[in-house]
């Protein structure tokens, strides 16, 4: 100890050498880098693409972007694209509503602090099973039942949202404060009363925040569902792309982008307002809260 203290002034002439990382860390890093390189190379061989393809691709994409300018808004609006944009919004909204209404009561039965094992295990399995099937696949199957059109899309989005919203709401319930529940038990309240007066007021702001977040995701999903004929603006985009009407494609794309950004802004504002309340100003915590909200979404599908 004293040796280093004495030697310090002499060392100060030269830049202090960095402490060596522990030897194990280096091996780990090398190992992970190796795995990534091997995985990358293996994937590359499967793609069947040459370096030339890679270099040419941005140029080809750029050519198409150039052809999209100027966007032919008049032509697509005459074909009812504005109505299709709203149809996408309706699909997303109804899907979110279906998901919220079904998942909310179920999530109480799936939480490990308020539900018995016999109920919560099957319900969690149900949530996880639903979450694992992509919306597009659900929509594809539902089209055989309810026919082509926006209702199949809304139903698919709704079913998928039951899984994702259910998982998130369950987690919110599990991290809630036990105090209010105990108080209601002590006052003689039964299970339903405990949930209604002890749990719902605690979790509702966060859960509604998740509903809105899911709505934002569902707006994007509903724009995609048109690709397989489940209503909304996606169908318009596909038909214009198939006929290679690029100015029209550009116009539809700009409309999709506008829709998504407008909904994100409104919903983001509403979410912050719900969590922060009307009185307080939004402070620096806002970013970390967003990160928290998104970071928690593990596996729920940000797309």
């Amino acid at each position: 100890m004293t040796d280093t203290a004495v030697e310090l002034p002499n060392d100060a002439e030269q830049p202090a050498s960095r402490p060596e990382p522990p030897p194990g860390a280096r091996n780990w890093r090398l190992g992970i880098a190796l795995v990534l390189v091997v995985a990358g190379v293996w994937s590359w061989t499967g793609l069947d693409a040459t370096l030339q393809d890679v270099l040419e691709a941005p140029g080809k994409a750029l050519d198409i972007v150039k052809e999209m300018w100027p966007p032919a808004f008049k032509a697509v609006i005459d074909r009812g694209a504005v109505g299709k944009i709203f149809e996408s919004l309706y699909v997303a909204w109804i899907g979110t509503m279906i998901g919220a209404i079904i998942s909310f009561p179920l999530s109480f039965l799936g939480a490990n602090n308020v539900a018995p094992v016999a109920l919560r295990v099957p319900i969690r399995l149900l949530f996880n099973a639903i979450r694992a099937v992509p919306e597009l696949i659900v929509a594809m199957l539902l089209i055989t039942v309810v026919g082509l059109g926006p209702w199949a899309g809304a139903l698919a989005i709704g079913l998928h949202s039951v899984g994702t919203l259910g998982k998130l709401s369950t987690e919110v319930i599990e991290t809630s404060d036990e105090g209010p529940l105990e108080a209601i038990s002590a006052a003689g309240g039964n299970w339903v009363e405990k949930m209604r007066w002890g749990m719902v007021p605690q979790v509702l702001p966060t859960v509604v925040g998740y509903w809105l977040f899911r709505f934002e995701i569902n707006v994007r999903a509903s724009a995609v569902l048109g690709l397989i004929g489940a209503g909304g603006i996606g169908g318009e985009l596909v038909s214009q792309l198939n006929f290679r009407n690029f100015p029209e494609v550009g116009a539809v794309l700009l409309m999709v982008i506008t829709m998504v950004l407008v909904i994100d802004t409104i919903s983001g504002f509403a979410r912050r307002r719900i969590i922060a309340g009307s009185g307080r100003k939004i402070d620096d915590d806002e970013t970390s809260r967003t990160v928290g909200l998104i970071g928690d979404l593990g596996g729920s599908g940000l797309t």
């Binding site: 499967g46 198409i64 690709l227």
Partner: protein, 267 residues
């Protein structure tokens, strides 16, 4: 004073909701009903969904067809390859761009705004629309799908990552700058170590997203297992379809468990 018994515990009066709340609730309810009518909402579908006669054709699954190497396995490998390469490329690019998109570490205002605006626009186009667009631009196949997922995972990754950088501790960076560090080395030594675990966690999450997306990319002609799904659906081989769906389901569940386990240890 405090000892006088209160008469029959009068409950405090509940504050009345504001007029605005009523308007909002009624407005949203009306919008919901209107939207439901616009898209032919039908209660009967909730029953028809389960009693559809077509479901009988999904069973039994012809496992010898599904597990045959040529039919499904090759396309599945392609799915993995698309997801792996687009995650590696997208996440590597996301590191510098994510730093450029954060107020804390952005080199200058024009870079900050330019990356931010471009990335928000890119993120506003869903992954499958990127797939469809790139299939049109550079041709059908896994190559277009890889581009689509690379672009989209870059956009998702920079959003998550730049928000983490925003929330990082600014003091080490100040210290590094005060000691005369140039921009890039200062960020690398003062900010990167703090946010790197989160970066890895997000990368795993993006990989999960990419696996999910690459399963369905084939529906728009961008390669992977979705291509097989689309062929079997259009030829009405629903039993084979179910077999493929079960395999997809198992893969998603395994990858998710794996990624969640690692992420829990990281953060």
């Amino acid at each position: 004073m405090s000892e006088t018994a209160l008469p029959a515990a009068a409950r405090p009066r509940k504050p009345r909701p504001r007029l605005g709340s009523y308007v909002l609730v009624v407005g949203l309810a009306c919008f919901t009903v209107f939207a439901a009518r616009q898209i032919d909402f039908r209660w009967s579908s909730f029953v028809d969904m389960w009693t559809n006669p077509l479901w009988g054709r999904f069973w039994p699954v012809p496992w010898d067809w599904v597990l045959n190497r040529r039919n499904v396995f090759d396309a599945l490998i392609e799915t993995f390859q698309i997801a792996i390469i687009s995650t590696i490329v997208g996440c590597s690019l996301a590191l510098p761009i994510g730093f450029a998109m954060s107020k804390l570490t952005s080199p200058n205002a024009p870079t900050f705004w330019f990356t931010r605006i471009v990335m928000n626009i890119v993120r506003a186009i869903p992954d499958l629309l990127w797939g469809k667009l790139l299939v049109t631009a550079i041709g059908i196949g896994a190559f277009a799908g890889t581009w689509a997922l690379t672009i989209f995972s870059l956009a998702v990754m920079v959003k998550l990552f730049s928000e983490t950088v925003d929330a990082a501790d600014p003091l080490p960076l100040e210290a590094a700058r005060a000691a005369g560090g140039r921009h890039t080395p200062a960020v690398r030594t003062a900010v990167l170590p703090e946010v790197f675990p989160a970066y890895v966690a997000y990368a795993l999450y993006v990989f999960e997203l990419n696996i999910r997306a690459s399963l369905v990319l084939g529906l728009v002609g961008a390669g992977g297992i979705g291509r097989i799904v689309e062929t079997q659906r259009s030829t009405f081989n629903f039993d084979r379809l179910l077999g493929i769906l079960i395999i997809m389901f198992v893969i998603v569940v395994i990858i998710e468990q794996f990624s969640v386990a690692i992420r829990k240890r990281l953060v």
